[in-house]
Point group: C2
Amino acid sequence: MPYELHYWPTIQGRGEFVRLALEAAGAEYVDVARGAEEEGQGIPAMMRFMEDADVLHPPFAPPFLVDGKIIVGQSAAILLYLGPRLGLVGKTEPQRLWTHQLQLTIADVVAEAHDTHHPVGTGLYYEDQKKEAQRRAKEFRTARVKKFLGWFETVLERNPRGSEHLVGARLSYADLSLFQLVDGLLYAFPKASRRALKKVPRVAALHESVAQQRRVAAYLASERRIPFNEDGIFRRYPELDA
Amino acid sequence: MPYELHYWPTIQGRGEFVRLALEAAGAEYVDVARGAEEEGQGIPAMMRFMEDADVLHPPFAPPFLVDGKIIVGQSAAILLYLGPRLGLVGKTEPQRLWTHQLQLTIADVVAEAHDTHHPVGTGLYYEDQKKEAQRRAKEFRTARVKKFLGWFETVLERNPRGSEHLVGARLSYADLSLFQLVDGLLYAFPKASRRALKKVPRVAALHESVAQQRRVAAYLASERRIPFNEDGIFRRYPELDA
């Protein structure tokens, strides 16, 4: 049975980290909320898991994965579950733990990237927090991105199996997620991110090599890859870049 | 060999979720950065792991746990590692995954609680973002806390083994972390949190019952429990409560 991914149908958002793993592994999956309501898919199919009282493990928010009786939410937890099944993580406990730790740190950057345009609150419009967003985005661009990317550069540099991957000598879901993070930063803050990437050549090289993986490249060129847009996490508001 | 916990020595912060697990299980551990430098402990011992080039898995930030050759950062990943070893998580994969998913959602609330006093940036003083903090805290108090606690209430309500625990019929690290989250909210936003807790009686009861667990109670009454203060994540700034 194919995996069911449930996520908002018009944005990459946090669901994209899961999509990339499924796509890179060539896994069969259904992107449920993007399907037709007549076929039992669409947003109502997603909302059922969040609202029905008979769901014992209701997700707090999309994305979540349904695999038979298993329902798992939180993108990092979904990848923890999928990693071994898709062959996107090493076999030993230390490798799996380290890969997960990298993923959680990527999730932290993603949350901070989101907060650049929503520093005051998720429930308010960007237009109502533009001034605060400019202050937050400045700190993010000038201090946080540098610190985070610098750490990933160190991780690549110290990988005893080489700097092509974050963990060991093979593609892991953390590599895919770091690709997505860099891709999002380049979309949202093109000027600042291009500057920052010059100082982290291994991170920049990983971003390029992941994009060239056969299945990833096919996915990125397909209509399944939703373009970045200003409803997602990474938004291009020129006033927030410099 | 005792576990080594490395975290800032003067705050509960994110390290407290790990301390609570170690304490509740009666595990032997050293809170390294709170130890004496003459004995090879203190902050320098912690910084070594973050700065030395021979550390293959450098943590991005404290807290991190050292267990022999294993170094693991990110509080949720530390608990993923410790859970089975301390008997603080169920034995099946679905139980472990669900417990971890709950932990990740608690971590999300914690990050949002932090941002109430630092909406514009971690690198700036609270005094330089007080106005923004008031807007963010209002959204957090009135919308986010209600939504998050309501979700945990639902999780407790739907637990087929009873509402005393989040997962199954025994104490898990997610219970301990939900206790800590509620405790922190009550410290930082006493008015708003007391009001919010009235609507989530199962969450309120879990907060009380965890505090009464024998080992947890002994820990909370000891000097090992650092009091909440205005350097940590949960800060009592009366102007942010209502």
